[in-house]
Amino acid sequence: MGLVMGTFSMQSKQVDYRKDKVDDDLEMTMVCHRPEGLDQLEAQTNFNKRELQVLYRGFKNECPSGVVNEDTFKQIYSQFFPHGDASTYAHYLFNAFDSGHSGSIKFEDFVTALSILLRGSTREKLQWTFNLYDINRDGYINKEEMTDIVRAIYDMMGKYTYPALKTDAPKQHVDAFFQKMDKNRDGVVTLDEFLLSCQEDENIMRSLQLFENVI
């Protein structure tokens, strides 16, 4: 009799377990976003149709729902910098990409930002960078914002660097930056000061051309 009971109990157990999981999965809503038409995007950005196609295929493959939220963004970006912690910088990047402040990056945002960064004029690129640094979007970069950004960048390097990272390295970096950029020494950097200083610097101008052929 024990045998019979045992065999029965073994058989019936397996069926019920699976059902709960399926229901949970269905509840994850199918948020789907479709981008504007190809022609519109081509008009808005500096990419041609082919490039947009390649970009979208990759984007859709990775994010079938059509949007990237901040956590996924951080994860993706961290893949490229395994030594350190890229999440802080990724957060700032996310805000810079997410021009509509919707909390998620759609394909249009993605492609617009890429268009500026890769195919835009130097002025546009520098403006984008200014927006990145200006965390609270008030039109000024102050020392705290800059320190945050620089610290985030240094975080990406990780612990094991050569030479060893000193704790005041970000601060020194920020001081050097302000020395160069803050023309009227009022403690904040405006867009015009930023643009002017960058255009004076040969290195920066030259480097801006480097990323033309990324796509």
Partner: protein, 634 residues
């Protein structure tokens, strides 16, 4: 997964524009990508089913057949497609792997066929996704067990005797496989008959026969016809002894034979007789003598040579040892608990059977196994309540391990049945001439002219090099930009800890990444610098001789604990990129790590000062080669 990372790399590089105003140094030049950017659609014809995919999709895994230049061997110029004479159903899964980065194992396919397809296309099975890995592993294990059994069975039966075998070997074979010769068969049946006779005699001699004249009491037959029984017993024992000695003589390894279960049973079966012969007819030891006679019943186990079912039962019990142990343990626990409870519950009753806890054991066992003899019953109400709880729980406890034992038994039984069937059919040439098949296949291919000759081998090899490393080139460039921005370099834990130690010695060096240019001042820095130079040079030399390093079949789990290596190889270690950031996960292709010399001109090193470094660091190089099996997520 791979798709994701490769897609987002341009974005990550574009985002590097954000570092530019902060950079203290000039950025390095980006790697130049010579190959044409436009993507094309390839047609892959697998046994008539046409698949079409982007070239980039296939290029993601450059270490597989489809991702490398190896597919050019299958290119058909006339139809402008790649033709593979393989299973189209399986190819679907292979192609999905390229598309999604995850390899799935189709449940309805045979595991061996699947493995063969993977081997053909150069994909390592270890990258099967988690969703299908369990199933794959189970099937694979099952298949391997089956194969092992089959080869064993085959070897046992089908191997014909070499013509010049000694009589000893022939004898052993006759004992092990009675079907081989008539003599062996006869002997087999004779021994079986005598075992049966002996067992029946043992049983019958205790039956009470009619008493001889002049006596009232019933005598057991053994005592009435003691001479007859003694003769029968002697005959049987003689046969058994003879058989045992012959087996011992014929056994290829006597020690192993003597330790085997069957031989022990044989010995136990015949020893009582000899001991009985030797011992005097003494009243004192007759008790022990009687005990010895009990061992005669072990002769019945000799039947297990003749019966396969008995052997299966033995195997089952052996393989379920843990379940049986658990059963026994839980039963013991329950018995002790309930016996104690019943004892104290029935303690007050007059004339109770539950005189002590061990006495209650008997009651508990009989109740838990639902036997219920009724020789001990509780009288108090508490006793009856606990008694009923005892019987209910007994049912449960016994029911638990039984299904496991049953399933084990059924598995072993089916396996044996299959082995028997195959032996009966005498299947020959299993695992046969796969080499032969390959040859015919190759010859057919050559004849049909699908072989398109490679006239620009070196170019395509170079292209391959480019292909598989363009992702890394770009990634390295990105990391290099970060280094320039922060004015620090990536390094590994070992070098870092060394550095920390030497810093206290007052080591200072001028900040420079162009190691070749400087013979830096203090002595403490030189060994390290030399080591790093040596390692970098080793990297570039290794990247040149990539063939030796690249191994398609080995995958290693990357640990973050360091191997002393330079930045470039360290960066390349980041190639196991997957979206969930787990360093342990794998993707398919394995590459060695080339140092991209093109974009960092300061890394060109004069070889001579580094030579002693190389000699000193041969250990690190060898460890590097072992570590070099890395994974690309292209």
């Amino acid at each position: 997964m791979a798709a994701g990372v490769a897609t987002w790399l341009p974005f990550a590089r574009a985002a590097a524009v954000g570092w530019l105003p902060l950079a203290k140094k000039t950025m390095p030049k980006p790697p130049v990508d010579k190959k044409s950017r436009s993507d094309e659609i390839l047609i892959v014809n697998v046994s008539g089913l046409r698949f079409q995919t982007w070239k980039n999709t296939l290029d993601r895994y450059p270490d597989t057949l489809l991702g490398s230049s190896e597919k050019e061997f299958f290119y058909n110029e006339d139809t402008q497609e790649y033709f593979f004479d393989r299973d189209p159903e399986m190819f679907r899964h292979i192609l999905n792997f390229y598309r999604t980065g995850k390899l799935h194992y189709p449940r309805q396919e045979c595991i061996q066929a699947f493995d063969e397809e993977l081997a053909f296309y150069g994909i390592v099975p270890d990258i099967i996704g988690d969703c299908c890995m369990e199933e794959y592993r189970d099937r694979k294990k099952e298949n391997q067990e089956r194969l092992a059994e089959d080869t064993e069975a085959e070897m046992a039966t089908d191997v014909p005797l070499p013509p010049n075998s000694t009589p000893r070997e022939r004898l052993w074979r006759a004992f092990e496989n009675p079907h081989t010769s008539t003599m062996a068969l006869v002997f087999y049946y004779v021994t079986g008959f005598f075992i049966a006779v002996s067992v029946i005699a043992n049983v019958v001699e205790t039956v009470p026969c009619r008493p001889p004249k002049g006596s009232v009491k019933d005598l057991p037959c053994g005592e009435k016809y003691s001479v007859a029984f003694f003769c029968m017993d002697t005959a049987c024992v003689l046969i058994f002894t003879f058989e045992y000695l012959m087996r011992l003589f014929a056994a290829p390894s006597r020690c192993k034979f003597m330790r085997s279960v069957m031989s022990v049973i044989d010995v136990v079966a015949i020893m009582p007789y000899y001991i009985g012969l030797v011992m005097p007819e003494n009243e004192d030891v007759s008790g022990a003598f009687v005990t010895l006679r009990v061992f005669r019943v072990f002769r019945i186990f000799k039947f297990s040579r003749h019966s396969q079912g008995l052997r299966i039962l033995g195997y089952t019990l052996k393989s379920c040892a843990s379940e049986l142990g658990f059963l026994l343990f839980s039963l013991t626990m329950a018995i002790i608990i309930f016996a104690t409870v019943m004892f104290y519950a029935e303690k007050g009753t007059k004339g109770t059977n539950f005189t002590s806890i061990p006495a209650s054991f008997w009651y508990t066992i009989v109740t838990m196994t639902t036997l219920g003899y009724g020789d001990m019953v509780p009288n108090t109400i508490a006793g009856k309540i606990f008694g009923s709880i005892c019987s209910l729980s007994g049912v449960l406890v016994i029911a638990l391990p039984v299904p496991v034992i049953v399933s084990n038994f059924s598995r072993i039984y089916h396996q044996n049945q299959r082995a028997d069937k195959m032996r009966a059919q005498q299947v020959r040439g299993r695992g046969a001439s796969s080499a032969l098949a390959l040859f015919t296949h190759l010859s057919l291919i050559c004849k049909c002219g699908f072989f398109s000759p490679q006239d620009h081998d070196s170019d395509s090899a170079a292209l391959c090099l480019k292909n598989r490393s363009s992702f890394e080139h770009q990634h390295h460039h990105l990391l290099h930009c970060l280094e320039k921005t922060t004015n620090h370099e990536f390094t590994d834990e070992l070098t870092y800890s060394e550095m920390c130690m030497t810093e206290s010695v007052g080591y200072r060096t001028s900040r420079s990444t162009s190691l070749s240019s400087q013979q830096v001042v203090s002595s403490s820095c030189c060994p390290r610098r030399a080591k790093r130079r040596a390692i970098r040079l080793a990297n570039s030399t290794v990247s040149v001789s990539r063939g030796s390093v690249q191994e398609l079949d080995t995958l290693q789990v990357l640990k973050s604990s360091a191997v002393p290596q330079s930045r470039s190889s360290l960066n390349a270690r980041t190639e196991d990129l997957k979206l969930n950031c787990e360093q342990r996960d794998y993707t398919a292709a394995i590459i060695s790590i080339p140092t991209p010399p093109a974009n960092t001109p300061d890394e060109s090193l004069p070889p001579s000062p580094a030579v002693p470094g190389i000699l000193r660091n041969s250990r690190s190089i060898s460890s590097f080669t072992h570590e070099t099996v890395k994974i690309s997520s292209l």
